[in-house]
Symmetry: C2
Subunit: 565 residues, 2 copies
């Protein structure tokens, strides 16, 4: 059991790089900071909108959490802030509870965020980073693709300016059919123009820097066009009043009934935030040789979300697009993240007014274009080719997310992988084995040309023995015996068994007794030390009619030597 380590250097890995920070790194960090900022402004507002929250909350969520992460996280380039999938999960959690955009909705978002933070922090302090293993790669992959699809569909609400539901596909289709005739032509024109520019322009721009700031250029241009043509009068929906000034420190009000309702989703958001951030951090850590620690990342995400909650933001995580940009732009240390956050404060103080006439269609277009790349069926096909079981888990997760909702789909996917694992354990591979001529190795008689002795039946079970599969082994042995009257010895090769539970031990005791009645001896071979320790505690060792051998070869040789040809 590991101890909970609360020393300062553990909780704040920043002390390591702060001590050795060189002024030469500052220039690279500053340049990276500005490029990230240019992405962060439109992304922050767009993702807040995706979460059903006022766009300014996306700006707020980009300040303090990033600074907090810089001091507590172990990755040097991870960019923390609003991200699409987490925002979507926030929306899916709160949408059924309160009217979108109401004060209650916003309050609940603060509460949800602090819960995500506290859950991450506690799991991190308890060194529960291993929880990430509970979710298999195919399920995560499918979850991200399905969520991206829902997010993309959700943008049509703004692109067409009609009230669409997008918690799942059936809801989406029925609301689309109902409202399609109400679509706003001016929104449609703006949408198409923005999407075309966002998709096509990067193909003509060869500077990586320019390509990165295209969304910001589109945003600014659209604001100018709206002003010139006075389009706000023509019912084009815009971001609207943004309070200028810094976010307030504010501790969310705590309703225990509401908190209880939010708990399962807060847990799922914390897990997904963790899975996403760690995957992104790992991808860049290989290049930077960062010393990542999964539990430390949980702690840092915990602090970042608590910071988001008490500073008028909402749930944050590591952003793939911004982290890649930050890293590519030459960020050397987390100072880069701190610099982009500090610049964001200037935006808050002096430039929020600019964004008040930004059309919502343009923000939606930036989300749609950035998320569209994630939607692909290639991973489904590749996974299906390798393993039907993993492919099936992907498919069910996808259907669960798109036809029920984002959290339920994920839970179904995770549950299914557990059930399939138990199913596999309950259907162990059992082989009758024989000797490969000229060696001491035994292999499956149905796959290899091997030597067997008529009076001996050798079995190997390729799974730990437990209540789930003990019956299967017994049934297999008895069926084999009923077809071969000559057999006087059964040897069970235990080389794949490293654990044996009480139910399985009782099965072996029963099998031993039943075979004894038929005058057949039961032997064991290649019993691993931990299993042997277990057997010694039981009656089986005393009652066993046969012997326990170190190797299967020894067992067969001592019972009935195989003649050497």
């Amino acid at each position: 059991m590991k101890k909970i380590d609360l020393s300062i250097s553990t909780l704040f890995p920043a002390f390591k790089w702060l001590k050795t920070y060189q002024i030469s790194s500052f220039k690279s960090d500053l340049i990276a900071a500005f490029i990230v900022l240019a992405m962060l402004v439109p992304q922050g507002m767009a993702y807040a909108m995706l979460a059903g929250l006022p766009p300014v909350m996306g700006i707020y969520a980009s300040i303090l959490p990033m600074i907090v992460y810089a001091f507590t996280g172990s990755s040097t380039t991870l960019s923390i802030g609003p991200v699409a999938i987490i925002s979507m999960m926030v929306f899916a959690t709160l949408n059924p509870l309160f009217p979108v955009g109401s004060q209650q909705y916003i309050e609940a978002a603060y509460l949800l965020t602090i819960m995500v933070g506290v859950i991450s922090l506690v799991l991190g302090l308890l060194r529960f980073g291993f929880l990430i293993q509970l979710i298999s790669h195919p399920v995560i992959q499918s979850f991200i693709i399905a969520s991206a699809l829902l997010i993309a569909l959700g943008q049509l609400k703004f692109l067409l300016d009609i009230p669409l539901q997008s918690n799942n596909i059936p809801e989406f289709i029925s609301s689309l059919v109902k409202h399609i005739q109400e679509l706003s032509l001016i929104s449609l024109i703006f949408s198409c123009a923005a999407i075309l520019i966002l998709v096509l322009l990067p193909k003509f721009v060869h500077s990586v820097f320019l390509a990165r700031i295209i969304p910001l250029i589109v945003v600014i241009s659209s604001i100018i066009i709206v002003a010139i043509f006075d389009l706000e009068q023509n019912s084009l929906k815009t971001v609207g009043t943004i309070p200028s000034g810094l976010p307030h420190f504010y501790f969310p009000s705590w309703g225990s009934e509401l908190a209880f309702k939010l708990l399962p989703n807060a847990f799922m958001i914390a897990m997904i935030s963790f899975v996403e951030s760690l995957a992104i951090a790992q991808a860049t850590a290989l290049q930077k040789r960062d010393d990542l620690n999964s539990s430390q990342e949980l702690i840092a995400l915990g602090f970042a979300n608590i910071a988001a909650s008490i500073n008028n933001g909402f749930a944050v995580s590591g952003s793939l697009s911004r982290t890649v940009v930050n890293s590519d732009a030459g960020a050397k240390t987390p100072i880069s993240g701190i610099l982009s956050s500090l610049t964001m404060i200037l935006v808050c103080l002096y430039f929020t007014g600019i964004f008040e006439t930004l059309p919502l269609t343009v923000l939606a277009a930036t989300i749609l274009v950035s998320i569209w790349k994630l939607i692909t069926i290639a991973p489904f096909i590749e996974t299906w080719k390798y393993s039907k079981a993993d492919g099936f888990a992907m498919l069910i997760t996808f259907l669960g997310v798109t036809f029920i909702d984002i959290s339920t789909g994920l839970i179904i996917g995770i549950g299914l992988t557990f059930i399939m694992l138990l199913w596999r354990v309950s259907r162990p591979h059992i082989a009758v084995i024989g000797l490969i001529e000229g060696t001491q190795h035994f292999r499956n008689v149905s796959r290899y040309d091997v030597i067997t002795v008529p009076t001996i039946a050798s079995f190997r079970i390729d799974e730990n023995l437990s209540f789930l599969n003990a019956h299967v082994l017994k049934g297999y042995v008895i069926t084999e015996l009923s077809q071969n009257a000559e057999i006087r010895h059964v040897i069970i090769n235990c080389s794949s068994i490293s654990n044996i539970d009480l139910s399985a031990l009782e099965m072996l005791e029963e099998l031993n007794k039943e075979l004894a009645r038929l005058n057949i001896k039961l032997h064991l071979s290649e019993v691993k030390s931990p299993v042997m320790d277990r057997l010694r505690k039981s009656k089986l060792v005393d009652e066993l009619t046969g012997e326990i051998f170190l190797s299967h070869y020894q067992a067969v040789q001592s019972i009935s030597p195989i003649e050497k040809n």
Copy 2:
């Protein structure tokens, strides 16, 4: 995939023994039938009462189900009818829904019973007999002990004649504290007398036959005493009016909302009924050399419960006490069961009047005495000694059943065993291995005195590789390498791996790449055929920096031969 077999000889195993029935068996069958009948009358009424149903339903449930089982079941001695634990589960299911004893309660009991029957029948026809594996022995054992305790406590309601709740222990204690002062003295006297006689008398009776019918003698005596002293006037509660005549054929009314509510418990009752019956049938099958078939038993239990439902009975299962008596008394074929059912018809027609003045305290005493033997802590201690995990599962199941309720406790117990199994899979045993001198065998370096080569690190993971444990292996390898700068080759011994999922494969690909960057080659040894088939479908085989060897010995020899001393 097995086909669903609907041929007559499969659905009705009775054809086998009917063809060869000898008249000499008839005498043994008849004697056994009468002894079982003497137990069945008081037990049937008592268990119906336990289920919150009119006692006569216990008599009805002892007629048709037994006859139906005789023709469809594969055990020759199993006695089918009302049993304590199933009755308790019926009570726990219906008690929260309707007032005990109301017409709605009785109707719901019919519906529940037909659902149990249909579930069993369908699972049996689908050959889902393997479902029995889902419940581990320790959980079943603990479930039975805990249920027996609740049943015993539940009898105090009748023994003291006060309104006690016994769905769980806290409820029981609070209602006992509240009502203890209302206890009826005359009930207490009757209870103590009946319990003393039932416990002590068998110690003085040396005839097995007489010992078996003591409950019937106590029942009859109590009826006579009530009549002589006119105790019914003195507020001693008795069975009350029993309609004479045969049960009616009646198809339960089907409410889909109610059916939906009953479904989870109907499933649990079907499973427990199956587990219990099969365990009892197996115990006697060994002696009788019956050819038991678990799916066939499910089918037979399905028919028996459907028969119980449409013939005014309630959920039935195999009774341990009556099966043992039936077998000991010399029953040769299921004709014994048919005979006791036919005699029960005579009881229905002519003798129900006798039981109307039977005191409820006496019925409760017979239940208490028969169930008391099951309540023991020895299995908990024995299991705990063998395995802390199994012992923990027993304890939690016990606490779940006694502190929440009978079905929830069982579900918690089953769920916990699954979680523990997944936990174990996620914490695989990994060993660094070395060569045992003079052999070709490799064993754990920390347990055996083995030879190792400084440039080679050999690992063995004792578990199938999946998303749950792939990270652990990678972490283990990397930690080991970071402590030994000399290592140039990593060999993973795959002898315990018989399955590898996509997440684990991706981990191996990553590990291969990361080791390549450090100029360390990754080799695999003793890869089983099904795993090799999997690897061939992936990129790993092409990208692997090292080789795949048939045996670990070959691997080490070909990389850096160990000198023979």
